[in-house]
Symmetry: C2
Amino acid sequence: MSETLADIGEFDLIHRIHRVIQQEGVSSPDVVLGIGDDAASLRPRVGYELLITCDSMLEGRHYLPQHISSLDLGRRAMAVNISDIGAMGGHPRAALVSLGLRADALVADIEAMYRGFAAELNPFQASIIGGNLTKTGDAMFIDITLIGEVEPAKLVRRSTARVGDAILVTGYPGQAAAGLQLLLQSQPSEDLHEHPLVRAYHTPIPRAREGRTIACAGYVTAMIDTSDGFLGDLGHICQNSMVGAVLFQEQFPLSAELQIAAGVLARNPYDLFLRDSDDYELIITCAPEHIKLAQSVIANVSDVPVTEVGKITKPSEGIQLVLPDGTQRPLTPTGWDHFA
Amino acid sequence: MSETLADIGEFDLIHRIHRVIQQEGVSSPDVVLGIGDDAASLRPRVGYELLITCDSMLEGRHYLPQHISSLDLGRRAMAVNISDIGAMGGHPRAALVSLGLRADALVADIEAMYRGFAAELNPFQASIIGGNLTKTGDAMFIDITLIGEVEPAKLVRRSTARVGDAILVTGYPGQAAAGLQLLLQSQPSEDLHEHPLVRAYHTPIPRAREGRTIACAGYVTAMIDTSDGFLGDLGHICQNSMVGAVLFQEQFPLSAELQIAAGVLARNPYDLFLRDSDDYELIITCAPEHIKLAQSVIANVSDVPVTEVGKITKPSEGIQLVLPDGTQRPLTPTGWDHFA
């Protein structure tokens, strides 16, 4: 199993990839033409708009090959794109995968990566319809374009939060970042792959079903995924909606694992929740009278908790954090600046 | 003008890019949501299928930064994608641009690259609707996904050539490769930027208008662009259509510049035509009785020559080259294997 790309060449690799996709992926009747021509072709459904997103993973920067399996890497790279479609209220349909690969990459690893892509796409009946292969001399990269669809009336933007709305969040932001820190601080002899926080980092569960469900139910005014960290993405909502926000620290959902890890890492767990990235949870704003309804429609399709953590305020107030003793302190949403 | 990405940060860079796109790009009424949310949104036109392609350019591998301006690099990266849409008979509509950038990259260069993207998209009323920015430590990369549209009856595949069809080609394949070789062999003091072969390499003109026109006219059985070299892509047609081909060397269109350059480079000009890549011409197959009609409908929209160079034969014959003296020799289409 030590066959490399240099051994089999580009066109054989394409055949191998094609085979994995056919064996492990679902096929959609709307795909007119998949891999194997100048372009793929897809039949749009009447009454739907297209959603298109793309996201890259660069070796050494967005993933550490010594820590993540190729299967998980494929899952993660696809999940972060699925998350973006879900955060618009949409449904994923088709993906194009562009890879930068070294000639010494193992064919078995590439095949495993495609199994990972399929594992994330299959629950949505979405498939890989095309892509590109490039030889790279140094860091490998995975660049995925994901196409989804949404009815125009269901599309949820980040720019439409209203003063007085509640701020909800799914899951436990901060977990993925804590998992990464545990990995980086681990000894070579430690196997942390099954640690729940490391799983949260390696194979985040995109909340696309939850986003789609709440968008269809209509109990949502704005939505975004937390790829830039909770505070960074709340900042995007505030900036684009021209509003402010107040957050109640006591209400932040912190998992038991995160609290333990924060101790080990000598980090403030609330800071991990607010500032660290790599989770793909949803921030949802809704009218206060819709909180319970929003929580219950999501509970119908998912067991992920949906927690109220704050309120949308006037823009002049910026983003404020209320501590348990009632004091406030302003927060500056810097987000995850890739060039900082 | 020595401002770098590290100086302004990711979010400021996004603003700068947005400004270039707004100032230099066209805006399409079908773009519901452009840059600035989790995903872009596009309204498909009723009666059209989507075409989706992606192609990467990696610094040092697909372009040499010391030789190409950022404007031309942007043009070229977009042109190769436009070519793929045209080769399906489609019309480009919207692009997503994913960049891997070093922190020391000049902001002015990135802006120039986006002006290059717009220069190629504008004639098609197509626009940039999204993308991604990633920091890279070493080679920069540009990965573009281009979305086009085509009426189902007009879509032209590479798999539908028929025995007896004529083989036509647009333009002068081999020119781009000769331009690259001239650049690589040039002295630092030589400025070859305006050499026609170097222009052919740096800013190939995609034949999307020609491909769309011939697809709409219906005088085409199969089509592909020559991104893998003429022979490599004819090989794709043969393999996918399960046919063979005979080529008449005397009929190959060789520009005067290519013939001169072949002498300088000590290369066989027919070999440059057949085997070298980086042109984005079209190979078109059509019924013999449609050759003149095909040439004349393309002449209505373009001054690019369309030359008959061979015939589609039975698959058992493989690909044969007929020399001026009537002798035949078999050709093996290896194409451009990125991992060879």
